[in-house]
């Protein structure tokens, strides 16, 4: 039973570490798209960059937060 738990925890940790890496990646791109607002000519273009950037930051940030919480919980259990 303990062995099963260890395997399950290891899988959860792996998934959380992968999600964390993907989240950082997407978050970075969201930030770059928001930064690109500075290069947009019109108000509509600026708002488009802002909304798209915020969506990416939301997805990436959400993944990072959730995975870090899981990693912390798993490490505390150990």
């Amino acid at each position: 039973m303990n062995n099963m738990d260890t395997i399950e925890n290891r899988e959860k940790l792996k998934t959380a570490q992968i999600n964390n890496a993907l989240g950082v990646f997407i978050l970075f791109f969201g930030a770059v798209v928001i930064f690109a607002m500075l290069f947009a000519d019109t108000f509509v273009q600026q708002m488009t960059d802002l909304v798209a950037g915020l969506v990416l930051c939301g997805i990436g940030g959400g993944m990072v937060l959730k995975s870090r919480k899981t990693i912390k919980a798993l490490k505390m259990n150990d």
């Binding site: 899988e11 792996k14 998934t15 992968i18 890496a21 993907l22 990646f25 997407i26 970075f28 791109f29 770059v32 798209v33 930064f35 690109a36 607002m37 290069f39 947009a40 000519d41 019109t42 509509v44 273009q45 600026q46 488009t48 960059d49 909304v51 798209a52 950037g53 969506v55 990416l56 997805i59």
Partner: protein
């Protein structure tokens, strides 16, 4: 040409993918990790990966181009041509492959029929993937040359280095997870493009009205079902029999690159759910790739090459930043197609050819090493053979068409193998060989049999039918395996022991 910020985004994407790939190296310590991601991946990542590997950059551009030329009927490939097949795969086929601990589809065929069927099926896929790799490298490089202005050889080397790096180190985990990033970027960029373009043309009703009044050649642009005598490549008869009944099922159930992803799932539930989730995402794909092609008819009328509609829409509609993001999605699409071929071919070679025929019973580290070396060798073959495809302009279409020919017979023996316990090993072997031979015959003499120029949908239907009939007929005259032998391989066959208990 792209603005500075867009170039920065594309370069950052390439560097980021390299780093991600290297990071995934830590999750690979056995051949199961390398080929099946340690059987630990979640359904949502696999579902996203299935969709992304299905819609590479070439299709991205091609579907928009076909929507520009023929209208929404091309959407059939992602709707009726995918969703029912994905659901069938999820509920019937994938559970058998996953529970059986398979690495490859030919491995299932080998267990269900015999080792000859396994070897023929595996070699057919390996040859197809290896040739396709060179063609894909060249086609990708040409696309990057047009979009980014990079020289063809630079494009080939960049694509090969990036894809080779993360596939070599990270195996299928890296392949699946880089696809997740791509899908997120593709959806955000694509939906923004559709929203802005729709706004520019004055809304959906205005779009329909304007295109319908552009002339007789645009009258059928909003007909999802085209008559059988249509001049487009999508007559309803071909869509129903060739695409829905055969090609879609063969692709979602019999294609190693697709099914291998489901086999990486952490349990049977996740394996099934990945296909169902993938089918839900698939229904949204035409919105991203088809609508821009339609809107380009109004915004960029009279394009000689419809395939230029999507790149032109991106450049004319999206703001700086998102243009870079969409081009990154293009680049990711190219990489996704190449990494799928690399990893799947390495799996097929290692598991179906090397392990049974070259070195049986070696330790797992050895097979992991073979898988990695095969990936490198394939990469070099792809780079070296890519210029050959430039000498044959129609080779990309020819290779894709070839896929539809052998998929029909292969699907026929998969279908009978799983649903009909009376199917015999000799039935399967004859059905596969005669079905493929018949497809080659039909293709060689296509002018005598078909009126449309590229009858690949009809060829796949007829080759499926011949493969099916031959398998059934030969099975009636040969001895089937016992129920014990078929346990876990055939639908609702639980073996003699269990039957006795009842």
């Amino acid at each position: 040409m792209l603005a500075g910020i867009d170039y920065f985004i594309v370069i950052a994407y390439i560097v980021g993918i390299l780093l991600l790939g290297y990071y995934f190296k830590r999750f690979v310590s056995s051949s199961e990790d390398y080929f099946l991601g340690g059987k630990s991946l979640p359904f949502w990542a696999i579902g996203m990966s299935i969709v992304v590997s299905d819609i590479g950059a070439m299709d991205f551009v091609g579907v928009s181009g076909q929507a520009y030329r023929y209208g929404i009927s091309v959407g059939n490939f992602d709707w009726i041509g995918s969703v029912p097949a994905m659901l069938l795969a999820a509920f019937i086929f994938i559970p058998y492959f996953w529970k059986g601990g398979m690495y490859t589809i030919p491995e299932y065929l080998g267990k269900r029929y015999n080792s000859s069927v396994r070897t023929i099926a595996s070699l057919t896929w390996i040859i197809f993937f290896a040739v396709d790799l060179g063609v894909l490298f060249w086609a990708s490089a040409v696309l990057l040359n047009v979009l980014m202005g990079w020289p063809v050889w630079v494009s080939i080397l960049i694509t090969a280095t990036v894809v080779g790096f993360y596939t070599y180190f990270g195996g299928i985990t890296a392949v699946v997870m880089t696809d997740v990033v791509q899908l997120v970027i593709m959806f955000v960029g694509g939906l923004t493009l559709v929203f802005l373009a729709l706004h520019a043309v004055g809304g959906w009703e205005e779009l329909v009205d304007k295109i319908s009044n552009m002339g007789p050649e645009y009258r059928q642009h909003f007909d999802l079902i085209q008559p059988s005598e249509t001049k487009t490549p999508f007559p309803w008869t071909g869509i129903l029999f060739g695409l829905t009944f055969v090609m879609a099922n063969a692709y979602m159930i019999g294609n190693q690159a697709i099914v291998q992803r489901c086999l990486t799932a952490k349990n049977e539930w996740h394996a099934k759910a990945s296909m169902i989730f993938g089918s839900a995402l698939k229904m949204l794909i035409p919105i991203l790739v088809l609508f821009p092609g339609l809107m380009a008819i109004i915004i960029h009328p009279g394009l000689e090459d419809g395939d230029r509609s999507l790149p032109m829409m991106i450049k004319s509609t999206l703001p700086p930043g998102l243009i870079g993001l969409m081009f990154s999605a293009f680049f990711a699409g190219l990489m996704s197609s190449v990494d799928s071929l690399l990893n799947s071919t390495a799996t097929l070679f290692t598991k179906d050819i090397y392990e049974p025929y070259i070195k049986k019973g070696a330790d797992d580290k050895h097979y992991l090493k073979v898988g990695k070396i095969t990936t490198l060798v394939l990469l070099i073959i792809g780079i070296l053979t890519s210029p050959i495809s430039s000498k044959f302009p129609g080779i990309y279409v020819a290779i894709q068409t070839f896929l539809s020919y052998f998929q029909g017979p292969m699907f026929a023996i998969l279908l009978l193998g799983i649903f009909w316990k009376r199917t015999t090993q000799w039935g399967g072997l004859s059905g596969l060989i005669i079905g493929i031979a018949f497809a080659i015959y039909l293709n060689t003499f296509k002018a005598q049999f078909f009126t449309i120029e590229d009858p690949f949908l009809y060829v796949s239907w007829w080759s499926f039918l011949v493969g099916f009939i031959v398998t059934v007929m030969v099975s009636f005259f040969t001895s089937p395996y016992s129920e014990d032998r078929l346990e876990g391989l055939v639908y609702k066959v639980t073996g003699g022991k269990n039957n006795n208990k009842q």
